[in-house]
Symmetry: C2
Subunit: 314 residues, 2 copies
């Protein structure tokens, strides 16, 4: 049994994988380092999309159809905000709103994001340790043909329809990892990079210098799961963003983005022809079904990740 397992996570894809992982590893043994690059201020409220998706999913209160937000939520506040003339492209539910009000109030009182995330986890009954990647502002800006914008604006408001020219992760170089992040990586027995967007979810985490350094330095083996299947994503615009950066959207491209610290890579069976090319990078490549439809799919993928880590360590 792995005692100290660390996962790097974005939103929906990571949350699904983690749902499977907590079936095969005790929650208490897992530390999840979550992207906060999508964090934004809306109506004066601090919203942390990825940490919320992970927490809601693991707490069993996520809206499973959408993959984010709370199950059985209502949108009466949003409707009233619309009547007051405010922009309402980000679909904040009434129950969901409580999390943002709570977080904003505590930030105002001087609490750091990692402490607030811990309090939220406790309130939701989670035993898993969830750490924001940093307590500071690190924000990917999507440079498009119509200008620079926050990722959530690009994705939700604009429907990912603009041509991506570049992605700039503002604030990453000077940002400090949140307390416990580098320690968790350095002391880990094994590390999993969840199947999340490599550009705007895992990318911002890795853009923090000390985190990437810790991943290179740690004695733990690192396995990643490809979020790209047959040149496309299950959800989200990773393929479009990769193309915008001049990268072919493929499992191989994802593996090569992590090559300086990656030991093994799980890619979908449909991409098996890329296996050799990935192994040529010095990364062990394993093919499997990576589409997570059922809880069983998720648990099997988690089990495979653990087995791969075990084999890589031996």
């Amino acid at each position: 049994m792995i005692e100290k397992l660390v996962c790097l996570a974005g939103g929906v894809g990571a949350a699904k994988f983690l749902q499977g992982l907590v079936r095969v590893v005790p929650e208490e043994n897992i530390t999840v380092i979550v992207n906060t690059g999508d964090d934004m201020n809306l109506y004066g409220l601090h919203i942390s999309p990825d940490p919320d998706i992970v927490m809601y999913t693991l707490a069993g209160i996520v809206d499973e159809d959408k993959g984010w937000g709370m199950r059985d939520d209502t949108f009466n506040c949003l409707q009233a905000l619309h009547r007051l003339g405010l922009e309402t492209w980000f679909k904040l539910g009434d129950r969901d709103l409580a999390t943002h009000i709570y977080r904003t109030q505590l930030l105002k009182k001087g609490y750091a994001l990692d402490k607030i995330t811990q309090m939220l986890c406790k309130a939701l009954g989670l035993k898993i340790r969830i750490l924001p990647m940093t307590n500071e502002r690190v924000e990917p800006q999507i440079i498009t043909n119509i200008g620079k914008m926050h990722f959530e604006r690009y994705l939700v408001e604009r429907g990912a329809k603009d041509n991506v020219l570049d992605v700039v992760i503002e604030g990453a170089e000077s940002a400090h990892p949140a307390p416990g992040v580098t320690e968790a990586i350095l002391e880990a027995n094994a590390i999993i990079i969840c199947p999340s967007n490599p550009i705007v979810s895992i990318g911002p985490i890795l853009a923090i210098t000390k985190i990437r350094e810790a991943l290179r330095e740690t004695g733990a083996k690192v396995v990643a799961i490809s979020p790209i299947i047959a040149g496309a994503t299950v959800k989200g615009p990773a393929d479009k963003l990769m193309r915008g950066l001049g990268l072919e959207p493929s499992a191989y491209s994802v593996a090569s983005l992590y090559r300086d610290f990656l030991d093994a890579f799980i890619l979908d069976e449909v991409d098996r022809e890329q296996k050799q090319k990935i192994e040529a990078l010095g990364i062990k490549a394993i093919t499997a079904n990576t589409i997570m439809l059922s809880l069983q799919d998720k648990a099997e993928l988690a089990r495979l990740a653990l087995e791969t880590l075990q084999k890589t360590t031996d």
Copy 2:
């Protein structure tokens, strides 16, 4: 027709009266100066109970059963806040929340309360002019046997069950009236003090030195409607607060609190024996039905107030 009518207002009682008033005077001719002494910060949100009650009531979206909050509102955010361990004695509805989020965000951006109130009125389609008494913090503190507390805590959280020893209106002496308040009073053709709590609703407005001075100075006649009927209130704890201040809860006591600027006073028929005593203060006293159950009751009371002002002026 009165061109410039000014009303001083608290929450529920005033809002009901104003519902009648807008039936007999064009909305555009009315300026309402509303108590903001009940304003409070909850979860980092700026809540203005009395201005909201007045706006919601006149916009026809108030919860008529409670007299405050929005009609057909849901309480999903509040429920979620409760699960996060926050205190939820103040019953914030999901639709209602939008107003507080909107106000808080604009305050953060540097807008003053009077400007925000104007924007809210516009969004709600109101033509009446609603002014907060001040843009500054003026707050009645209820001194009770268990300590000092905000009026909403005394009323809502504690259910007005504590013994009132005193009421101290903090910040009133140094506060400036909101822009337009003293001008409206000085330029008014007539002034109505709505049937609101004389201690914590009208009291804080009058505690602002320049407002009370303007009321003494204005050429307009001033009529008040008693919120006390047969020694008790229709709603709210005015009677308890008056007793705490050593005042007998009676129409006469209310009239005497306003004696330095009051020309006429409308009290309920059941209190007719107090008429003579009030007239001895130099205030014209009129008895009528002051219980506002139907819209017709409200309009009749408004019509009587206007007639009284007319007769006092002649």
